[in-house]
Symmetry: C2
Subunit: 91 residues, 2 copies
């Protein structure tokens, strides 16, 4: 349950605006113990969002992206606020 | 730095087999406060992996997928162990 624990931790307290919303969070972490290697997470981000867009309606202004790169690691965090009942259930 | 903190937490202690490896972790969490809605995370999983495969070499046996669904949330966790210097740097 580690992931869910994190998800709960990262959640702000509910606000009236939040209560009716669905929220989708995508976290990508690359642990480059061997050092080096190009940072492909920012490039991959656009394509990951395209996949998600097949399943749910995404409004650009509701997408928040945070990328961080450090020595031996990079992380990409994408937070998307979805309108309720927005899932498209694509095949 | 919340994501990185989580990433550090979720890391097992290093083993001799780990030290030369890169690791890619993808976490997708859907917070369905409004209840209901279809669970599209398992469907999305295959397509997300296809995107990642464009950027890095993935061996099937090095991919570990965990899906959990509960009341009002679902989470998808994909852990991929990559050989060092495997990034393809696709465009």
């Amino acid at each position: 349950m580690r992931l869910f624990d994190f998800f709960k931790l990262s959640r702000r307290g509910p606000t009236s605006a939040d209560t009716a919303k669905q929220r989708l969070q995508v976290l990508v972490a690359l642990d480059r113990k061997g050092g080096g290697g190009p940072d492909f997470l920012p490039l991959m981000q656009k394509e990951l969002l395209e996949v998600i867009r097949k399943y749910v309606e995404i409004e650009e202004e509701r997408v928040n992206v945070d990328f961080q790169a450090g020595t031996g690691f990079s992380t990409l965090e994408v937070n998307i606020e979805l309108p309720s009942e927005t899932a498209k259930m694509a095949v």
